[in-house]
């Protein structure tokens, strides 16, 4: 190594040695670059690393030196990456031996004895610890030639390395450099990876990777967020619990996930899927992925990048929907014709509304027809063109006119005449606007036309109607007034003026309140409010109005409200019809009906109206209470020989009228209730043309009960009277007969009176019993042939003593043989009664005559007196029980008042009739007729 050191010696070095005892190594020419490269190595001041420590031990051992080190040469220091036998971490660069190696041509610097080398002899490291005598170093040279430092060995004794040691030392240096660079690469790789991970984590796209086996590796934040979980933490079997992947609406199995397809070697390009999780809104993502291959092309895994297209999808959908909606509106607008033309005026769109309006189909029109030439009335178009100073032949101008004429930007609406395919015309309201492209250039025109023909026609009709209304208004017989909403008449016709007695000029502006009764005003206002508010559409009611002269008239009053096209009320129309006369007639009718109704309702007898089946359709109060009849009940009649009610009703048909067609007694019942004895009168009373029957049901229950009571009473009383009477009259007759001794003369008269009156009382009682028996139907008649004349003679003989006190002569006027059929005892009783009656009413000295005569198959027997006759007022009651005419002659009062009644009953029971004639001033003649019998021989 000698020559090397000699070479390095310079005069300048000499100077240094002279002053400091050693020579610092000069910096190499490329020092700034070298330092920069050294810094890039990022090894300075790093922690010890075993690999370098191993190299240092190896170097010391190979070179058999106590000290070895790996150092890096910084700008002003020598930093030890690793060392052995030296406690220092760094030394100043000036003192370093290694710095000299930098500038050396050779890759190995060897100093056999430092004390002998002028560059180092005075170096404190030589002079002092570590007392360097031997030094050898191999340069650490990077791949780019940068000299970072050295691998050095040091001994405290002079010596030299053999060639093997030198070679090995250089190899160790090479090893060290390799490690330095590897370490850098590793660190740089780590850093890059961290950066990448950060980048991945921060990416707005989801990035996922998997290894060769499909195990997930990368799963960045976005991916985690979209899946709602870090899927890496889940076994694949649980993925479905957390998220689902869909493609084209179909649920994908994990083997068809894009990442898995990429792992199978497929290149995934713009595949759209939907990620659905429990916690996240649905997310549409677009996937791009590839298999990961190593250098040899073998698969090592797969990567998938997913980009969120949810918003884009939504926007796309919104656009599509808006378009569809617009299309559907266009299609559905049957009432609006929508026609789009291109700039040249040719139809490009023709919706169903247009088809309907114009009668063309879209196929016929689109791309073929220009609305301005086909749909428009050409004269009208020319006229409009002329108005705005354009030539109709100018296509653009015509289009512009059709578009509203002037402005290309604004919307123009006006009425046009459209000509339909069938040649008919329609009036349309056409709005035309220009269709602009993105640059604002006119692309075409949109026309929207509404058919206003009905409106136009309606307007015309309204005009005509108004004309007609005018003439009707004037000519109407009804009073008509137009009334403002505040109640003032502003237009009236002549009829109204006539009706209310005002001259026309006074009527106008009059307030309606002046024309009605004050108490009606609030109700009128209420109705007006209801009309105006629309709660009712019109009113019609009977109404009083006040004429100018104060007279009140009845009217039919109709009121309705007139509204403008917006429905706002304008004024009222009031129609008045004078119905005063009808009103009076109607009132009378109502009163009469109410009167009849009250009569019906409150009649004491049950009144029911029946249908043909006997069902009750109407019943008055008495009817309802009779057995609790209700409407709908069927009335039934029961009794011996009583036909079924419907049959009876049918018989009634023939004799309509107020007179009862049928009158009968029967038991009536409804719903099997206890029958009620009644007298029923039936008459036909058609209602609304349908036959109905009025049944008047007179309840006989009470009457029957009273009769029964009376009979029982009479029977009892008679019996109770008879016993004491028997004793009285019996005792008197015994006394008067002298059976109990002679009667003194002074007593005789009184005793006679007593006996006669007791006998009279007895007759009365007997008569009462007779009547009782007759009424009860319990008297028996033994009918036989009676020769009349002998019977009369017998009666006269029996009555002679009776007639004596009245000083009346009895005689019979003979008419030859005659015979009647009857009970002899009862015939005798009849004659006795008539004779006693005649005696009582005969003046003293007069004669009572008995006549008899056969008339046809009857024999009439008459008893004629010469009395004052039967008073006119008494005629009707002559045969009533206990009926006795008032008479000044108190002898008339000695009768029982039952004789004639009994006579009548007896005669009638025997099939005869009884009566009387009493011509004024000729006395009375009572007669009875009995069936004639063939006179018996010898009678």
């Amino acid at each position: 190594m000698e020559p090397q050191g000699a070479v390095m010696t310079t005069s300048e070095d000499e100077d240094l040695i002279s002053t400091r005892g050693f020579v610092p190594a000069p910096p190499p020419a490329d020092e700034p670059d070298r330092l920069a490269a050294l810094l890039r190595l990022e090894m300075l001041d790093t922690q010890p690393e075993p690999i370098f420590d191993d190299l240092v031990v190896l170097a010391a051992h190979i070179c058999d030196c106590p000290m070895a080190l790996i150092s890096l040469i910084d700008a002003d220091r020598l930093w030890f990456k690793s060392s052995i036998g030296i406690d220092l971490v760094e030394i100043p660069r000036d003192l370093s031996f290694c710095a000299h190696a930098l500038t050396s041509e050779a890759s190995l610097l060897e100093v056999p004895d430092a004390q002998a080398d002028p560059r180092f002899a005075g170096n404190p490291l030589v002079l002092g610890e570590p007392r360097i005598r031997f030094y050898a170093s191999a340069l650490l040279v990077g791949e780019d030639g940068t000299r970072y430092g050295t691998v050095s060995v040091i001994d405290r004794v002079p010596r030299e390395l053999n060639d093997t040691q030198r070679d090995l030392l250089q190899r160790l240096a090479h090893q060290a450099v390799t490690h330095l660079q590897t370490s850098l690469a590793r660190r740089q790789a780590q850093k890059g990876r961290r950066t990448l991970e950060l980048l991945l984590e921060a990416m707005p796209d989801a990035v996922i990777t998997c290894d060769r086996e499909g195990r997930l590796e990368q799963f960045n934040r976005t991916a985690r967020q979209w899946h709602g979980i870090d899927v890496r933490q889940l076994p694949p079997s649980q993925w479905r619990d957390h998220f689902s992947i869909y493609a084209d609406g179909e649920l994908l199995p994990p083997e068809r996930y894009p990442l898995h397809r990429a792992l199978q070697g497929e290149s995934i390009r713009d595949v759209d899927i939907l990620i659905r999780t429990r916690s996240q809104p649905d997310r549409h993502v677009r996937c791009n992925g590839d298999p990961l291959l190593d250098d040899s092309g073998a698969p090592t895994g797969a990567i998938l990048v997913m980009h969120d297209i949810t918003a884009a999808r939504a926007a796309e959908r919104a656009v599509a929907e808006a378009r569809a909606r617009l299309q559907s509106i266009i299609d559905a607008s049957l009432d609006v014709a929508i026609i789009v033309t291109d700039k040249g005026g040719v139809v490009t769109l023709f919706n169903p509304g247009a088809e309907r309006l114009l009668g063309y189909s879209a196929e016929e029109v689109v791309g073929r027809i220009k609305p301005s030439e086909t749909f428009h009335d050409q004269d009208e178009l020319a006229e409009r063109a002329h108005e705005v100073g354009l030539e109709p032949s100018d296509l653009r101008a015509v289009a512009a006119i059709a578009a509203g004429g002037i402005s290309e930007r604004g919307v123009d609406t006006r009425q046009w005449t459209y000509v339909r395919k069938d040649g008919t015309t329609r009036q349309v309201r056409l709005s035309v606007s220009a269709l602009l492209d993105a640059r604002g250039e006119t692309r075409g025109y949109v026309g929207m036309a509404t058919d206003i023909t009905p409106l136009v026609e309606a307007r015309e009709a309204a005009r005509l109607s108004n004309d007609r209304f005018r003439s009707a208004f004037t000519a109407s017989a009804q009073g008509i007034a137009l009334v403002s909403l505040d109640g003032r008449l502003f237009e009236v016709n002549q009829s109204l003026c006539d009706m209310l007695g005002y001259p026309p000029d006074e009527m106008v502006n009059i307030h309606f309140e002046q024309l009605v009764l004050p108490e009606d005003v609030p109700g009128d206002w209420e109705r007006i409010d209801q009309l105006v508010s629309g709660r009712i559409s019109s009113t019609r009611l009977s109404r009083r109005c006040v004429r100018k002269d104060g007279q009140i008239i009845w009217t039919i009053h109709s009121m309705s409200v007139v509204r403008d096209s917006n429905g706002e009320p304008l004024h009222l129309v009031v129609l008045l019809l004078d119905v005063t006369q009808q009103k009076h007639a109607n009132d009378a009718l109502v009163e009469s009906r109410q009167f009849l109704q009250a009569l019906f309702e409150h009649a004491p007898d049950a009144l029911v109206v029946l249908d043909a089946n006997g069902r009750i359709t109407q019943a008055n109060r008495a009817g309802r209470s009779l057995m609790g009849m209700v409407l709908g009940d069927t009335l039934q009649l029961k009794g011996e020989g009583v036909p079924a009610l419907p049959e009876l009703l049918a018989r009634c048909r023939a004799t309509p009228g107020l007179e009862p067609a049928i009158r009968l007694q029967a038991d009536v019942t409804v719903r099997n209730r206890d029958p009620v004895p009644a007298e029923i009168s039936l008459s036909l009373v058609p209602q609304a043309g349908i036959p109905h029957w009025l049944a008047i049901i007179h309840d006989l229950t009470e009457q029957r009960a009273v009769e029964r009571l009376k009979q029982e009473f009479v029977s009892t009383v008679s019996h109770e009277l008879r016993t004491p009477l028997t004793a009285v009259s019996g005792a008197l007759s015994l006394v008067n007969s002298g059976a109990v001794g002679a009667v003194p003369d002074e007593l005789r008269e009184m005793l006679d009176i007593a006996e006669q009156n007791s006998q009279r009382l007895m007759r009365l009682v007997n008569d009462l019993l007779d009547i009782d028996k007759l009424v009860a139907g319990k008297m028996r008649f033994a009918v036989e042939t009676i020769a009349v004349r002998p019977a009369i003679d017998e009666a006269l003989a029996a009555m002679t003593s009776y007639a004596e006190p009245y000083q009346v002569t009895l005689e019979c006027v003979d008419s030859g043989p005659a015979a009647v059929l009857g009970d002899p005892m009862r015939v005798m009783q009849v004659m006795n009664n008539l004779l006693s009656n005649a005696c009582k009413h005969s003046p003293p000295g007069s004669t009572v005559r008995v006549f008899y005569r056969q008339e046809g198959d009857e024999v009439v027997i008459a008893v004629k007196d010469e009395g004052s006759g039967v008073p006119e007022a008494f005629h009707a009651r002559v045969f009533d029980k206990f009926a006795q005419a008032d008479s000044a002659d108190d002898r008339a009062l000695v009768g029982t008042g039952l004789g004639l009644a009994i006579a009548k009953e007896l005669v009638e029971r025997m099939g005869g009739t009884i009566g009387f004639d009493s011509p004024p001033g000729e006395g009375a003649c009572f007669w009875f007729r009995l069936p004639a019998a063939r006179p018996e021989a010898g009678a």
Binding site: P724, G730, S733, L734, A739, K778
Partner: protein, 133 residues
Amino acid sequence: MTARLERVLHVEDDASIRAVARVALEKVGGLTVLSCASGDEALTQAPAFAPQLILLDVMMPDMDGPTTLQRLSAVMDLQAVPVIFMTAKVRPDELDGYRRLGAFDVIIKPFAPLSLAAELEARWRNFHRIQGG
């Protein structure tokens, strides 16, 4: 059989009627009369009296005529004794009813006192005529 009616039993609750009947039958008719005021009285006295004819009021308190007749027939032989009911109730159906109850005939109140005895005698004779025939 006695050719003449002599003894008549008269049962009547009304004392006045009893008195009138007694006078009519005894004074006018010359008959012997046992007047009883009730059915009970008749039941005790009649057998001893042995009437030839019984005149029996129908309506009496406690025991009416028909009942009295029924009881009497138990205490004495009435085979040969006509029983005449006397009543103020005179309805044909009632007459039939009385006959069914054993009455030979009915005399209606008020009776004629002067002819009562004759009427009874006529009925008595008639009874025996029928019986005998």
